[in-house]
């Protein structure tokens, strides 16, 4: 593995994704708060919007949304890149030299996404909570400090841990699936498009299916 490749991939899977991950999570947090406030208001339980937004983001939504974004941008890019290399005979050239493809092509990609996803998730969750905060500030009567305290009291750390672990698995899955799809692709320009699409679809469906499995497991284990 070349350090340069790893750095490029880390950069693309991390800092480069901050804007879109931030925007989407902010809006999700805002929407949750809005819907939650309207409903909770009927029970005079508006303050629990902090729990709603916090737990939903930390436990489920931020991990899933971030993973879906990453499947779309990074998973698709990996599959396209690898299938292009296949079409250009770059992979063949590696094979003939006896340079391991796993180390040179796959490892930087998989490592980058697996490492960056949990960090993006944490960032996304915090932004999501902030989105909820912004909406709540304008719709309900609570001080910023009060909102913050209620969030800290209502959302346990293990929710974050759960999301963090899930995000790691989602990232690894997206990267592995994309690499595999790329390597299995045909060699024409059209095949690159097909590979990219397939990687995204497999990534998104896989993430949601995995999340369901995690939910069942968490329930069984009482997390």
């Amino acid at each position: 593995m070349r350090t340069k490749d790893l750095i490029t991939d880390l950069w693309n899977a991390g800092p480069n994704a901050l804007l879109i991950v931030g925007v989407v999570n902010f809006l999700i947090g805002a929407i949750l708060a809005f819907v939650g406030l309207v409903e909770l208001r009927r029970f005079a339980a508006e303050i629990y919007v902090t729990n709603l937004v916090g737990i939903a983001c930390a436990r489920e939504i931020s991990a899933i949304m971030t993973a879906i974004i990453m499947a779309g941008r990074t998973g698709g890019a990996y599959a396209a890149r690898i299938s292009t290399m296949l079409g250009n005979e770059e992979i063949d050239a590696l094979k003939v030299f006896g340079i391991p493809i796993s180390g040179y092509i796959l490892l930087p990609a998989i490592l980058s996404l697996s490492l960056m996803m949990p960090l993006l998730y944490l960032y996304g969750t915090l932004i999501g909570i902030f989105g909820g905060f912004v909406v709540s500030m304008s719709m309900m009567d609570v001080s910023p400090m009060g909102y913050w305290m209620s969030t800290v009291n209502g959302v346990e750390l293990r929710e974050f841990a759960f999301g963090f672990v899930k995000a790691f698995f989602f990232g690894s899955f997206i990267a592995l699936a994309a690499c595999r799809v790329g390597l299995m692709a045909g060699r024409s320009a059209a095949d690159v498009g097909i590979a990219a699409t397939r990687a995204v679809v497999i990534g998104i469906v896989g993430i949601i299916a995995m999340d369901a499995v995690f939910a069942v497991m968490a329930n069984a284990l009482g997390i």
């Binding site: 490749d5 290399m85 005979e89 050239a93 590696l94 003939v96 006896g98």
Partner: protein, 264 residues
């Protein structure tokens, strides 16, 4: 000839992609130190034959012996070891697009030798100098022309000083002067390093000048139809397809298929 003179022996090999047979009954011996030409019309399976010799496409039947070892009967680990004797120039160049030209040539050196970085850098410059590409050392493959990519691919192929070289159309896309210089380089590689060279080429003058053995693959019958050096084939062959090819003639009656090819 004595057995030890034969470096690679291709024995009754059949090549196919799924049900589609590309070539069958391919047999020839590659003598140590020879320059072997693989000839034939476009699409007849020349690149495919090379692929089966460098470990990318197992033949459906038949054997390929490298130094007496049945190449495809070995496990992957052993095949990779044998591959270290090979230097391959792909038809498309196949440079690694995420690396500069210099890094492309350097990677095999870094992987398979223990040279310190400054020596690697020197070696890279020397190899690129051989193909007249030293000024492109820091450019990416996307920033150079097709002919330059070919030459960079050639420099990469000879990076580890392999003793068996496979060149798929090395002179395609090169101007006549560079192409002539390439012929000299190929002869130097043979005479200087004692390399054995398999070359796919349509450059007749260059083939006549450098190749001393060869095989002619036919696209229609999916079989080799002539063996021998390009010079001999030019002067002595009585097979219409071979004659037409060697004399760049479009008038010799051949099949409809080849005619159609020629006019595309």
């Amino acid at each position: 000839m004595p057995q030890s003179d034969t470096l690679i022996s291709v024995r009754d090999v059949e090549l196919s992609f799924g049900p589609k047979i590309i070539q069958q009954n391919v047999s020839f011996d590659l003598k140590r130190g020879s320059i072997f030409a693989v000839m034939g019309g476009s699409g007849c399976g020349k690149s495919t034959l090379l692929k089966s010799m460098i470990g990318l496409l197992p033949p459906t039947t038949g054997q390929i012996l490298v130094g007496g070892e049945d190449y495809w009967a070995q496990n992957e680990h052993r095949r990779t070891q044998i591959n270290h004797r090979f230097g391959v120039l792909f038809q498309s160049g196949a440079l690694w697009s995420s690396m500069t030209v210099g890094e492309n040539v350097a990677l095999p050196l870094e992987m398979f030798t223990t040279q310190p970085p400054d020596v690697v850098r020197k070696l890279v410059e020397v190899k690129l100098g051989l193909v007249g590409m030293e000024q492109a050392i820091d450019l990416y493959p996307s920033e150079i022309s097709g002919g330059m990519r070919k030459r960079a691919g050639l420099a990469r192929a000879i990076a580890l000083d392999p003793d068996i070289l496979f060149f798929d159309e090395p002179s395609a896309g090169l101007d006549p002067i560079t192409s002539a210089r390439l012929d000299d380089l190929i002869l130097t590689l043979r005479d200087g390093l004692g390399a054995t060279i398999v070359i796919v080429s349509h450059e007749l003058p260059s083939l006549f000048a450098i190749a001393d053995d060869g095989i002619f693959l036919d696209a229609r019958t999916h079989r080799p139809i002539a063996h021998g050096s390009p010079r001999t084939l030019r002067d002595n062959s009585s097979i219409p397809e071979v004659m037409a090819f060697m004399n760049r003639s479009s008038t010799i009656p051949t099949t409809d298929e080849t005619k159609a090819d020629r006019h595309v």
